[in-house]
């Protein structure tokens, strides 16, 4: 009986230790330390990143990696209130591109789930043999800050003093900004109807703008009403033009006789800064052979922009807007530092597009 109890306690302790080891990522660490193939090495690294175990992940990298723990963690966990700080790695698809006895190139497609939807990050990683295991060579991160300096910003800002509600009927107030839909195009996409075009703030004050569309049947009755949601730049400065796109899922084009458009603008306080330049734009193919519009965003102001959204309008030969797409950038835009972006273009649109225009929506935590 006495030996039975001892035996039971020993077994129970061993089981609990094994469970704790598994819970603490011991299996992944083991897999990483004993990665027998390049794919296993990348998969194990992704597992650690998914579990936010950045220290062991960094420890597993090849020594030739040109990064330090702080930069590695900042790159993957995000910083400065960027979208990455509100994201977590959901899946990582690994596929080998090239391999020899000591080196390999592995493509990883990381899918991050964020507060604003899922974001893809495709990278080609070099993997090196280190004795019996393979280790990932993590690339040098892009510089995240410019040297210390003073950036002078002579900033333009509009404030609004509205009407006092206690005043009599007929008391003066300031009017809403005048905006104009400069183009509208209705197109049929698989499983939906899409209304897209451009809208301009014609006024001399900033506008907070919403564009709504109502699809109408032949008898004039409405089929459905939708708004542009985040596929528009809601805050438009004077004379600024924004593309918009409104999706009607589940509606067929042959059921639509006409469309009623409604652009509503409110007068809001706004700032003319920051100015964000969109440089080196070009249409190309990404690692997954998809058509993308690539480029870099450069925050030309002196303080960070936490979250940026790229909105792109595509035009055909006749100058008509044929598609509008968007993409969020998961890095914060630090002053003067170029940050790459890429937005998808459907294949049929890529074949027809003649020109494009990109604008940037931004969110800064301390916008005052």
């Amino acid at each position: 009986m006495k030996w039975g109890l001892v035996f039971f306690l020993a077994i129970a302790t061993a089981v609990l230790v094994a469970f704790a080891w598994l819970q603490s990522g011991g299996l992944k660490q083991h897999a990483m330390l004993s990665a027998a193939t390049p794919e296993e090495a990348v998969q194990a690294l992704m597992g650690q990143i998914q579990a936010h175990n950045f220290e062991p992940a960094y420890a597993s990298l090849d020594r030739s990696s040109d990064t330090d723990l702080a930069s590695f963690t900042r790159e993957l966990a995000g910083s400065d209130g960027s979208l990455r700080t509100y994201s977590s790695l959901q899946t990582a698809e690994v596929s080998p591109l090239h391999s020899d006895a000591d080196q390999a190139l592995v493509r990883v497609r990381m899918n991050w789930s964020s507060a604003l939807g899922s974001l893809d990050d495709v990278r080609d990683l070099h993997v090196r043999r280190d004795g019996s295991v393979w280790r990932v060579v993590w690339p040098k991160p892009a510089p995240s800050a410019v040297p210390p300096q003073v950036v002078s910003v002579n900033y333009l800002r509009w404030e609004v003093i509205g009407r006092n509600t206690s005043q009599n009927w007929g008391a003066q107030d300031v009017d809403s900004p005048k905006v104009r839909i400069t183009s509208m195009n209705a197109i049929s996409r698989p499983g939906r109807v899409v209304i897209l075009g451009e809208v301009e703030n014609e006024d001399t004050v900033p506008a907070y703008l919403n564009v709504n569309a109502t699809l109408l049947k032949a008898d004039g009755s409405p089929i459905e009403e939708e708004g542009s949601f985040d596929l528009i730049s809601h805050v438009l400065l004077p004379k600024q033009v924004s593309p918009y796109r409104i999706d009607f899922p589940g509606v067929r084009m042959d059921a639509v006789k006409s469309v009623r458009m409604d652009a509503r603008a409110l007068l809001v306080p706004a700032s003319a800064d920051p100015v964000i330049a969109v440089s080196d734009q070009a249409v190309s193919k990404d690692g997954l052979d998809r058509n993308v519009l690539k480029g870099s965003l450069v925050n030309e102001s002196g303080r960070p922009v936490n979250i940026a959204q790229v909105l792109a309008a595509y035009y055909d030969n006749s100058g008509k807007v044929i598609w509008v797409s968007d993409g969020y950038v998961d890095q914060a835009l630090m002053p003067q530092v170029p940050v790459p972006f890429a937005v998808d273009i459907p294949d049929d649109i890529a074949a027809r597009l003649k020109n494009y225009r990109v604008i940037v929506n931004h969110y800064a935590r301390s916008s005052d």
Binding site: K239, V278, E300, I359
Partner: protein
Amino acid sequence: MRRTAPINCTLRHCLAALALLSMLSGWAGADDLRVPATVQAGQSFSIPAEGSGQATFYLVGPDHVVKRSVTLGSAVAIQSSDVRAAGRYHAILCSSSCTSAAFLVEAAKPAHLSFFLHPSRVPVSTPQSIDATAFVFDQYFNLVLTPAVVDFRITPESGASFSRPSTARRGVTWMRLDSTPHEGRVQVTAVSDKTEEARVIQQVAAEACGLRMKAIPSGNAVTLETDPVRDCSGNALPDGTVVSFTKVDRQGKSTVDTPIKKGVARVEFSLHGPAQIGVACGVVLGNEVALNGKL
């Protein structure tokens, strides 16, 4: 004679009471009260009450009802506060039977103006773009339905003032005005009798006109600066107006939407070989610049 407080009642109850009292007075078959046909709002007057003994007097107006005990043989005084609202009133006197009479209370002299001036901002040189509408009220905020002269006095920031007299009919008058070619504040004052209301409209620059930029190359970069951005009347577009610069070179296309500051828009691009640069403000295109002599 004892005066009681006005009865607070809903419109439905008041109308029901009015109908009932009118029926009672009709059934009694008594002589009508002698009341003036029209009274000016806020003007006190009296109604003779013949006979002797006590009676109850009702005054049913468009917005309130008054009930009082009165002594017959003396006049019933109607206070100015009882006839402030314009409209049709019924006076009813009940003792053993009821008698009634109706009279009209008309608005007093113009004393208030409700003045609407739209829009609050208007581009320069736009025909018929300013609407001014004035409603004329008396001191009790009754709409003055009799014709009243309203003078619209227009004072531009630059240029001579002028006025446009107009007659309000059924309480309202309006006029339309072109915006002038010069930006700035325009004050419009509506004046009627001894009352006036002022509003301000801002005339702002229209679309950009003749938008031009110049390029100042410096090594591998180029600074682009517009001439002062003006509309076709020569008014400067306000600071904050967005100007878009687009550069196409070997690296691809680069765009910057930058606001006008101190009258001009300025941007710097790095250059990668021959470049073509364009500028636009809203839907207005400006000149194009080709650098390195080749597109």
